[in-house]
């Protein structure tokens, strides 16, 4: 059995090219060892160490013994995606990140129910590599780069078609989603 395994989370979607981005790395010993203080390295595709640190003293909340550390990793070049390797205690894991130029515009999205006009929270918004989730007021602000995109929104039991959008400055968009109630599980079949 492998002695340890690794989790990597809070990877940004996307990272900003030329800057660093923060991730969290957790390592679990399968031999029951306490890994506080163990070394963690992040390597780029060439095998060069681009970030390193030591695991903290406390396990990540909700885990049994996942010792963790926050690391800053240099982002790939603009409009590229790169896979990184994370190495610790003999274990290797990988994660990928896409990078864009620093976004210099703000897209404001307001989403409501088409029939009731009630703001819709927790709508996932995707715009190329950029994403956001609406707040309780049905709004989200996304820092985005200039360009042509397809704006997609997703919420369970609602639909709205994807729409093309041009970002050449700050832009506001209002979207009305149509409620399509989830079929009652019995409705699909007769019984």
């Amino acid at each position: 059995m492998d002695a340890a395994s690794i989790a990597v989370w809070d990877v940004p979607l996307p990272a900003v090219a030329g800057a660093t981005f923060a991730i969290k790395v957790g390592v679990k010993s399968h031999l029951g060892a306490t890994l506080a203080g163990s070394a963690v390295q992040v390597c780029d595709r060439d095998g060069s160490v681009v970030a390193s640190g030591m695991l903290g003293a406390q396990p990540w909340p909700g885990t049994d013994a996942l010792y963790w550390v926050a690391l800053d990793v240099p982002a790939p070049a603009a409009d590229q995606a790169e896979e990184f390797a994370v190495i610790s205690n003999g274990a290797v894991s990988r994660f990928s990140v896409a990078a864009t130029p620093r976004p210099d515009h703000t897209l404001t999205v307001a989403i409501t129910d088409q029939d009731s006009a009630v703001p819709l929270r927790d709508v996932e918004i995707r715009l190329g590599a950029f994403h956001a989730r609406t707040d309780a007021k049905g709004r989200a602000e996304i820092k985005v780069c200039k360009g042509e995109y397809e704006l997609q929104v997703w919420r369970n039991a609602y639909i709205a078609p994807a729409r093309p959008i041009t970002i050449d400055g700050d832009v506001s968009v209002e979207i009305r989603m149509v409620h399509v109630p989830e079929d009652h599980p019995d409705a699909r079949w007769v019984r």
Binding site: V8, L13, P185, V190, R191
Partner: protein
């Protein structure tokens, strides 16, 4: 045939009957209760044997959506034009998979008997919610009305979850008892007794109760209403060899549907009928799960903790409202299809051989894999009694560790941590890139990254028995040579030839079986 098979057992002159009645009904579900009431209405004495501790069978857990049309009173109230001829035309329509292969004699009878069966239900106290439902099947007009849920909560097996079938079976059982039918619970039919002499008539049954055999003579007939075969692995694989032991069953752990009626009838020569309907993929023979992390997670069946059988269910399950929230992997830790799909394309992928060289049939366990962000978004509490950690739900600090923790009776080999980690890494890349180049899941939204991680049982579910025993239009069972087995009837999901989903056909042919048996000369 083997020397000791029931059909060749010694002749029955020495048979000692413990009980005697006109009509014996095997099974107290929708079909059996309809048969019992109908037989009593036509003057026969009736004994119903039911293996379970309570009545209702599969129908007790159903939504109570009753597919009867033809221009009934509620249809007329809603201005729905319908007729027996329209029912017949719909359910023999060659354009649809659920109507194409049906026995047209059975459909003709069903069409003609829908109206009186609807009235029969009303006469026996069944009440309906006044809302007409158009179903996504061969029916071209709304024909489904839903019964009211039974009004006594502790007499409902899955309370407060729209299991309105409780209102159907409780009312029919109440009526059957009031009319004088005797319902013997915890009596499991073990064989059907047929005369060895020239008449070859069915004489009665033997049931097992309290560790003893109880022989019950049936002067007029025996009605098989045992509810189908999905719970019998060997039997169901006659129609679909993929359906090995790992699959969930709708109705479990209350309604076993273990083909005991079919087997007992086949022991005395009965034939199956229209067996291809089981695999026509036109109805819900197999479905995707909806409640994960529990052994029994049928779409519309959710056992609350106060269910009288919760100690058997062990967990409610976590209800998945959006399959963007998880990936589904096979026993090797590999994705196999777009998780948003619930069609037979998905099911066929789940049931495919994924590389198991030791077990070629069946697709093996399917697991939903997700992280703590999913738990937060779905507002789940992934702890007992919501999940069953005894083989059906696992949690770990890393994806790699999670794979190693999966221990389940149907997971025949350990899942590779490296394989599951690779699957998750690849999926997370699809989230980053916005495109699932493996299975075209539209815009994968959520990485599986934040600890802790979870694996929840999500293996497909077997639902309808769409084939069964051959009968004529009077619900009399037919043998392998095409001859009626005198005194033997079948209705409900054990009956073949009419692949309509739901309670309608069960009630119609149950009522017909009871009536015809009662009217036979003993």
């Amino acid at each position: 045939m083997a020397r000791n098979s029931p059909a060749l057992r010694p002749s029955q002159p020495q048979m000692e009957w413990n009980l005697s009645t006109d009509v014996v009904v095997i099974g107290a579900g929708a079909a059996g209760l309809a048969a019992a009431v109908s037989a009593r209405d036509h003057g026969a004495s009736v004994i119903v044997v039911e293996e379970n501790f309570d009545i209702g069978g599969h129908a007790m857990l159903s939504g109570g959506r009753i597919h009867l049309g033809g221009g009934n009173a509620l249809q007329r109230k809603f201005g729905i034009e319908d007729s027996p001829d329209q029912i017949f035309a719909d359910w023999v329509n060659s354009a649809n998979g659920d109507s194409r292969y049906n026995d047209r004699d059975l459909v003709r009878t069903f069409a003609d008997e829908c109206l009186p069966t609807f009235d029969f239900l009303l006469d026996n106290g069944v009440t309906f919610i006044e809302n007409a439902i158009q179903t996504p099947d061969a029916s071209t007009v709304p024909r489904v009305f839903v019964t009211h849920e039974w009004h006594v909560p502790n007499e409902i097996i899955a309370p407060r979850r729209n299991r309105n079938g409780s209102g159907l079976v409780r009312r029919l059982a109440e009526s059957a008892r009031r009319k004088g039918a005797q319902i013997l619970l915890e009596h499991e039919m073990t064989r059907i007794v047929r005369a060895d002499n020239g008449s070859r008539k069915v004489l009665g049954i033997v049931a097992r109760a309290g560790g003893k055999d109880v022989a019950i003579a049936a002067q007029k007939g025996v009605v098989i209403a045992t509810g189908g075969h999905t719970g019998n692995v060997n039997f169901r694989r006659m129609f679909d060899p993929r359906l090995t032991e790992e699959y969930q069953q709708a109705g479990m752990p209350y309604s076993r549907q273990d083909a005991d009626g079919e087997l007992a009838a086949m022991d005395i020569g009965a034939s199956l009928w229209a067996t291809g309907t089981q695999t026509s993929e036109a109805g819900p023979a197999i479905t995707k799960t909806r409640h994960i992390g529990t052994r029994w997670g049928y779409l519309s069946l959710y056992y609350e903790t106060d269910s009288p059988i919760f100690q058997l269910c062990k967990a409610t399950g976590l209800t998945v409202t959006d399959w963007q929230e998880a990936i589904l992997v096979n026993q090797f830790g590999q994705r196999f299809w777009n998780e948003l799909d619930g069609s037979y394309a998905f099911l066929n992928a789940a049931l495919a051989n994924h590389g198991d060289t030791d077990k070629l049939n069946g697709g093996g366990p399917i697991w939903a894999i997700f992280d703590s962000d999913t738990v937060a978004r779905q507002k789940w509490n992934p702890k007992p009694p919501n999940v069953d950690p005894d083989g059906y739900f696992f949690t770990a600090d890393t994806v790699f560790e999670l794979a190693g923790r999966i221990r389940n009776p149907y997971q025949k080999r350990p899942m590779s941590g490296a394989a599951l980690q690779e699957t998750v890494n690849r999926y997370n890349w699809f989230v980053t890139s916005g495109a699932d180049t493996d299975f075209d899941k539209p815009t994968p939204l959520h990485p599986i990254a934040k600890p802790p991680f979870h694996a929840a049982w999500a293996t497909p579910i077997l639902h309808d028995s769409l084939t069964g025993l051959r009968t004529d239009s009077n619900a009399q069972v037919i043998d392998l040579r095409g001859e009626v087995i005198s005194g033997l009837y079948c209705a409900g999901e054990s009956q073949g030839g009419f692949a309509q989903h739901g309670l309608g056909r069960c009630l119609v042919f149950g009522r017909i079986a009871g009536r015809h048996a009662a009217q036979r000369n003993s």
